[in-house]
Assembly symmetry: C2
Homo-oligomer: 171 residues x 2
DNA sequence: GGGCGCATGTAATGAGTTACATGATTGA
DNA sequence: TCAATCATGTAACTCATTACATGCGCCC
C-alpha cells in the first residue's frame, strides 16, 4: 500500500500528470521508492477506478495530451487512513544479505573476508551518495537522515564482523 | 534469488524432504526469511526441473510418501555462485515507513507524535523478541546479531525524532 | 467421532517489472 | 538526419501469496 500512499500524497500537494509524477519520483525520491513508470501509470488507472483521484485531459500546442490528476474527497480520506496506518506500525525489514551470511561457513575464511570487503565498498558508495546529497526541504530531509543513519549502522556492523573475521584468519 | 540460495544451502547441509524444510524455516529462520510453505514446494519443483536438486521418494509405514531432496553437483556449483553474488554486494533496503514520513506534515504535530510512539512500541516488541532468543550456533548467531543491531539503530533514530518533535510541540 | 499432525500439492490471484509501441517535437 | 524529450500505455512475464484440496493415522 505504500505506493498508493505515495501517489495520493504527491497529488494531494498539487495536481500533476503522470509524466510529471514519474519525473519527480525518479529525480527526487530514489532513496524512498523504486516505483517504475509503467507501474505508476497502472496505479493511477486503479486510483481513478476506485474514485480516489479524478483527471482532466489537457493539451499544450501540439504536445501529447496529458492527464492531469486531482485528489478527490474520497482520495483524501483514503490518504489519511493509509498515512496513519503507515506511521503507526513498524514494518520489519528483510535483509537478503542475511541468507548469504547464514552459509558463510561454506567459504574459506580468506575468500569470505574479501567478499565482505567488496560488500562494504558498495555500502560505502551508497553512504557517500547520501552524504553528497544537498539539504532538502521539510520531511524529505527526515527520510535522508533516516537513510544515512541506517547505512551508517550497517557499515559499522559490517566493519565489526570483518574485523572479527580478520583476527580469526590471522591467528 | 535469495530463496533459491536458502533452499540450496539447507539441502547442502543435509538431505531433507519438503515438510522438514518448511518446519525448519518456520521454527528457526523467521528472522531471516518469510518464505511460505507452498512457495517452498513450488521452488523445490523448479530446482528439480533445473537439475539443481534431485529427489528420492521414500515412505515410512503408512505415512504419506516423502520426497527427500538432494543437492546435485550442478546445484552445488549454483549454490557457490549465488552465495558469492549475495555476499559481495550490499542490497539496498527500502523502508515502507519512509513514505509515511514524507507526508508527516499532513498531520497535526500531536497526533504525529502519538503515531510515532505507537510505531516505537511495535519496534520495541520486535527488539525484545530478538533479545529473548537463546544463543544459536554458528552463522545464525551472526544473523541474529545483525538484526539486533539494525533494530537498535532504528529505535535510536525513532527516539531521536520523537524527542525533537516533542520539544517542538511543547514550544 | 473430531481434530490435529503429517506431507504434498493445485488454482486463482495479485503485485510489479520488462520490453515494446506510438507519434509528435526539439535540438545538434 | 539522428537522437532525445514528451506522454501515454499494452502485453507478456515473473514471482510470490492465499486459499483450498487430499487422505491417512493417532489420540482423546
Amino acid at each position: 500500500m505504500e505506493r498508493e500512499l505515495l501517489l495520493l500524497g504527491l497529488l494531494r500537494r498539487q495536481d500533476m500528470h503522470g509524466y510529471q509524477l514519474n519525473e519527480f519520483i525518479e529525480r527526487d525520491l530514489t532513496m524512498c521508492t523504486d516505483l517504475k513508470k509503467s507501474t505508476a501509470y497502472f496505479l493511477l488507472d486503479k486510483l481513478v477506478k476506485d474514485e480516489l483521484v479524478s483527471f482532466q485531459q489537457t493539451q499544450e500546442g501540439a504536445r501529447p495530451p496529458r492527464r492531469v490528476y486531482h485528489l478527490t474527497e474520497k482520495g483524501e480520506a483514503e490518504f489519511q487512513r493509509l498515512l496513519r496506518e503507515n506511521l503507526s506500525v513498524y514494518d520489519p525489514v528483510r535483509f537478503p544479505n542475511d541468507i548469504g551470511l547464514l552459509f558463510a561457513d561454506a567459504l574459506p575464511a580468506d575468500e569470505l573476508l574479501r567478499l565482505l570487503q567488496d560488500q562494504r565498498e558498495s555500502l560505502q558508495l551508497a553512504l557517500a551518495a547520501i552524504e553528497a546529497a544537498p539539504p532538502h526541504p521539510g520531511p524529505l530531509q527526515w527520510v535522508i537522515d533516516h537513510r544515512r543513519a541506517h547505512l551508517q549502522s550497517e557499515l559499522d556492523w559490517l566493519t565489526t564482523i570483518i574485523a572479527r573475521l580478520a583476527t580469526e584468519t590471522a591467528s
